[in-house]
């Protein structure tokens, strides 16, 4: 029992995984929270984000004050200032400047802005901010960091695994929660998918292909089953890679069939966390005692 507890958090991983997630999430953040790509690629959020997301948009006083958490409501000046601060923090995160502090502050400020008006809540934004918050625990500037490049200093061959374990646990819980929520008659009978199609939410060739090949109920059951199987596949070392590919396929299918903004990309990025192979702590010690030839 004690050994399994130790095994859950101990060990180390190759450090590439943290900077990879850092750069990925910083890019997703900058793309989703601004309209910077609107002249080049039309994205769903460009329909309502012009400039910075969450910037002050109320045109006349008095205004609706409805924060999700009491006391978090913001005025125009602070709201806009925090909006600009977020962009600075996201750029710092992308470049690897004070990465952990930038990530933690970015998540904090983003949650404050989102919760200051309950109508600003969206699942994919919550997932984005949550991922950045959990990432702030890891050694994000182990590679591809401007700050490390300027300062120099030794690079390590291994990084602690425990921040990654927490991120993986979050991903597994999301799949499990989503899968369990689908265990009801309306979903499993295909009625919900039919309703979403009638409302124009589900569309596109991928959806039509799946619907025509299988039908509403089998597609609904397959989605629920995949979401419930993914936690098992991802939790077990031997099936982890299969789980990652199943997850990527699921998110590709969903993203091709409906507008989920950046949710699919965020989940696909989080699945990268499962590709890092964990080695026991002894490997770290051995590497230091007997450096491999590549380090000499």
């Amino acid at each position: 029992m004690r050994n399994s507890q130790r095994e859950l958090f101990s060990g180390s991983v190759r450090p590439w995984v943290y900077p990879c997630l850092r750069i990925g999430f910083a890019l997703v953040f900058l793309i989703r929270e601004t309209s910077v790509l609107s002249p080049f690629v039309p994205l769903e959020h460009h329909r309502w984000v012009h400039g910075l997301d969450f910037s002050w948009s109320i045109t006349r006083q008095p205004h609706l004050v409805s924060p999700m958490v009491m006391g978090l409501a913001l005025g125009a000046g602070l709201c806009n200032a925090l909006g600009y601060l977020r962009i600075g923090l996201a750029v710092a995160l992308l470049l690897g400047v004070r990465s952990r502090a930038s990530a933690a502050l970015l998540a904090l400020v983003s949650y404050w802005l989102m919760l200051s008006d309950r109508f600003q809540y969206l699942h994919h934004l919550h997932l984005l901010f949550l991922s950045i918050a959990w990432l702030s625990l890891g050694p994000l500037d182990a590679r591809f960091s401007v700050e490390r490049w300027l300062r120099g200093g030794p690079t390590t061959d291994r990084a602690p695994a425990w921040p990654l374990v927490l991120l993986q646990a979050m991903v597994i819980s999301i799949y499990l929660a989503s899968g369990l929520a689908k265990l009801n008659h309306a979903w499993l009978s295909g009625e919900t998918l039919q309703t979403l199609e009638m409302l124009g939410v589900l569309r596109g060739r991928a959806w039509l292909f799946a619907r025509n090949s299988l039908g509403y109920a089998p597609v609904a059951c397959a989605v629920a089953l995949t979401e419930l199987l993914l936690p098992i596949l991802l939790a077990r070392r031997v099936t982890r890679r299969l789980g990652v590919f199943c997850g990527w396929a699921l998110h590709l299918g969903v993203s091709l069939s409906m507008n989920v903004s950046t949710f699919g990309v965020e989940m696909a990025l989080l699945l990268v966390a499962f590709l890092a192979i964990r080695a026991p702590d002894t490997v770290l010690a051995r590497t230091i005692d007997h450096p491999p030839l590549s380090l000499l």
Binding site: S10, H63, F119, P160, W162, V165, S173, A177, A181
Partner: protein, 146 residues
């Protein structure tokens, strides 16, 4: 590495929120992902000295944030969504307060939020009797009118 107790605390913090969100019946934070589609409609009335007046939601538009408009304004007719209904339901007292401010002569403001799950069958029938059998929540707020 942090202490084992802290790590297990963090693990619970990473795993539990979607389930707590679901247990509280809350759409937000639960990651239920399109499992329930609801239709919603909001009616706002202000009691004035000369009688009651029905407020059009479009009158609220300039006083709402961009994201609030996205959820509130469709309720003039019929909005669709899962989290939207719960967000709107929780915001009813705040909307009532805003209407009181916009209509200083009002003694009370009452809001009625109709919402019901959408199925293919009731979606087809909705054009005939949209509000038929739709459950609703009522919120009334005193405006402290002089």
């Amino acid at each position: 590495m942090p202490s084992r107790r802290l790590l297990y605390g963090l693990l619970l913090l990473a795993v539990l929120p979607p389930f707590v969100g679901r247990a509280l019946g809350s759409g937000p934070f639960a990651f239920a992902m399109f499992t329930r589609v609801e239709r919603y409609h909001l009616e706002v009335r202000a009691a004035l000295p000369g009688g009651s007046r029905r407020f059009s939601l479009s009158e609220l538009e300039p006083h709402l944030s961009r994201d609030a408009r996205r959820v509130v304004l469709p309720a003039q007719g019929y909005g669709f969504g899962q989290e939207q209904v719960q967000l709107l339901e929780q915001a009813l007292p705040d909307i009532a307060r805003l209407v009181c401010e916009l209509e200083p002569a009002a003694s009370t403001v009452s809001l009625r939020l109709f919402h019901a799950p959408v199925t293919p069958a009731n979606l087809r029938a909705s054009s005939r009797s949209p509000l038929l059998n739709m459950p609703h929540e009522d919120v009334a707020a005193a405006c402290h009118a002089q």
